[in-house]
């Protein structure tokens, strides 16, 4: 699939800091692309250069094969990490304000339905909840019916229920064949929404691919977890490669069938055995060397 947006050797240099250090990206049309990374990794700077909000110090960004021009603003939708709205306006008035800034727009009733804003239309934008506010900001990003949508940490600060509601909304938008570029702190969110992810650290992309592909590339094994009480003394012997993890004994193995047979042969009670699959969180720690802190 041809990329809708590409970045080549993208660099952003601030005095004394190289925030983005030679990034190459090619984001195919119609996917949800996740940009992950620890705080200060350069995610927001990268996404803002792709949005055309910040000028790169070096490198190029191409939208549909051409440099970002005047039409770009008409064709993309952006939801910033931090933003404010005109004060003393209702949700409806805010939608109308932004609708008037674009040449081509979706009908406002369609946006209201899509983003579930009907109940808060006449509310002052300063008096809506965090989840409602994020839905409104997404509605503003969608108001020009963009092909490409940038969402910069859209669920940060939302409670788990509001976050999951927002995910459903993003899935709905994606189902309309939109391309979404998403930065997030939540690995679970990236796993739920993204077709492809890139993990950034220190201004560079350190790992990129589909979530499943990255997990299988980085982790060829699984972890068996057995309560200490069920394990017996034999499991602590060197051959099992087991490590203590609180109340559990964890065994990493890339030969699951063989290891299970071995456990049975040694009389280990497997009733409470759990097999833990590796997650993006593990991948994150693995490639950045940092504990993930949402």
């Amino acid at each position: 699939m041809s990329p809708i947006i590409t970045a080549t050797q993208l660099v952003k240099q601030y005095p004394g800091v190289r925030a983005v250090d030679g990034i190459d990206l090619a984001i195919p049309k119609g996917i949800c692309f996740g940009l992950l990374g620890p705080n200060g990794a350069g995610k927001t700077t990268t996404i803002e250069m792709l949005e055309g909000i910040q000028m790169p110090t070096g490198g190029t960004v191409l939208y549909k094969g051409a440099p970002l021009g005047k039409r770009y603003r008409e064709e993309v939708g952006i939801q910033f990490q931090h933003t404010a709205l005109q004060e003393f306006l209702t949700v409806r008035e805010t939608l109308e304000l932004f609708e008037r800034l674009y040449e081509r727009t979706l009908p406002i009733p369609e946006i209201i339905g899509l983003c579930s804003l009907a109940d808060i239309l006449e509310r002052d934008t300063r008096k809506i909840s965090g989840g409602q506010r994020q839905r409104l900001l997404l509605a503003l990003a969608l108001i020009n019916d963009p092909e490409l949508i940038f969402l910069d940490e859209p669920t940060t600060g939302l409670d788990p229920q509001a976050r999951r509601n927002f995910w459903e909304l993003v899935k709905l938008v994606k189902s309309r064949n939109k391309t979404i570029v998403l930065t997030t702190h939540y690995m679970e969110e990236a796993y739920a929404l993204c077709d492809e992810i890139a993990i950034m650290d220190k201004g560079r992309i350190v790992s990129q691919g589909t979530p499943m592909q990255l997990l299988s590339d980085h982790f060829g094994d699984v972890v068996l977890q057995i309560p200490n009480a069920d394990a017996g003394s034999k499991l602590t012997e060197p051959g099992f490669n087991a490590v203590q993890a609180g109340d559990l004994l964890e065994i990493r193995t890339n030969r699951l069938h063989h290891t299970l047979q071995l456990l049975i042969e040694n009389g280990v009670n497997l009733d409470r055995l759990r097999i833990r699959a590796w997650t993006l969180e593990d991948l994150f720690i693995n490639v950045t060397g940092k504990k993930h802190t949402p």
């Binding site: 931090h82 709205l85 674009y102």
Partner: protein
């Protein structure tokens, strides 16, 4: 207490590290204190104002005793008719023409004029030909009104636009707008028109409401007055936009707005006439749009000046507005 001190310390550090705001906050009081001391220093308090036509240096040979009399302020005038108009409206107590045969003009209904007449006869005899003008006194409120309205417009325009733009930039609203196809000039022009409409409506309401009770003097055309005040407001809004074009610091913007408003407030003639001030002060005052707006409005309201008579002020206000808006749009930053 611990929390209070932590917040206090953080705020102090923020202030101290914002060098530009710090400089403004320090420099501004100094400039005001020194500026005012220098401008209004020297000389005793004069009681009577006497206009001199024909060269103030000739006064010494024509009326040496009068010139050496204390507490008289002599103000040179080039235009005889304009100076007579001042006596007519009680804005000057006496006018003396020393260009030819010595003459003086007094207003028959002016108490100060009466006393000055007694003084000039006492010290100079009957060498001066007496000319009498008639005319009602322009009440202080009539003189003061254009200044008050002008000041109100100045604050509303400068701070109303300047601070709002800085706040928009600081809270990220301008960045959100940057992500849309909206252009900088469109945004700024909308701000200008919005504020202009608002301030003109408010000023009209204030004027009309006060006029109902006070019955202001209005010798000229309301349309000319509307043109002058609209251009004056536009000019001051454009200054506010220029100041707010680049900064995201409310303290820096506040300092810069103060450095513009305070001299205008003191030197534009809004509070008191600059006729007795030093020449350089009067010339300096001409750089301020408020000076032009207030002078033109006073001329229209109190002296019945026509559009052609206030045209120099109209040109200054119009041209400076265009220049400030153009520069503001050019240097405007969304973030």
């Amino acid at each position: 207490m611990r929390k209070f001190l932590a917040v206090l310390h953080a705020r102090n550090m923020e202030f101290l590290r914002d060098r530009s705001a710090l400089v403004w906050n320090l420099a501004m009081p100094f400039m005001l204190v020194f500026g005012l001391a220098f401008t209004f220093s020297g000389g005793s308090k004069d009681i009577y104002k006497i206009g001199i036509v024909g060269g103030i240096e000739k006064l010494h040979s024509v009326a040496p005793a009068l010139q050496s009399t204390q507490h008289l302020q002599f103000i040179p005038y080039d235009e005889l008719n304009a100076a007579i108009g001042k006596v007519k409206h009680h804005q000057m107590d006496m006018l003396i023409d020393v260009g030819g045969a010595p003459k003086y003009w007094v207003n028959s209904s002016s108490p100060n004029g009466y006393l000055l007449e007694r003084i000039i006869r006492g010290v100079e005899g009957d060498r001066f030909e007496r000319q009498v003008v008639e005319g009602a006194e322009i009440r202080y409120v009539d003189w003061f009104l254009p200044g008050i309205l002008g000041m109100n417009m100045m604050f509303a325009c400068l701070f109303g636009v300047g601070f709002v733009i800085v706040r928009y930039r600081k809270n990220g609203f301008l960045k959100r707008l940057k992500a849309t196809p909206l252009g900088a000039f469109q945004f700024l022009f909308a701000q200008l028109v919005s504020r202009l409409l608002l301030i003109m409506v408010i000023t009209t309401i204030v004027y009309t409401g006060c006029n109902f009770f006070i019955d202001f003097n209005m010798q000229g055309s309301y349309w000319t007055l509307l043109l002058v005040t609209t251009l004056g407001a536009m000019c001051m809004i454009s200054i506010g936009m220029l100041i707010a074009a680049h900064t995201a610091s409310e303290e820096l913007a506040g300092g810069m707005l103060n450095v513009v408003t305070w001299p205008m407030m003191l030197l534009s003639g809004a509070w008191f006439s600059l006729e007795g001030a030093q020449i350089w002060v009067q010339k300096l005052a001409l750089i301020f749009p408020l000076t032009h707006m207030v002078s033109a409005a006073r001329a229209i309201m109190n002296e019945g000046a026509t559009l052609s008579q206030v045209m120099p002020h109209v040109w200054v206000l119009g041209i400076t507005s265009v220049i400030f808006i153009a520069i503001g749009a050019y240097v405007f930053k969304w973030e």
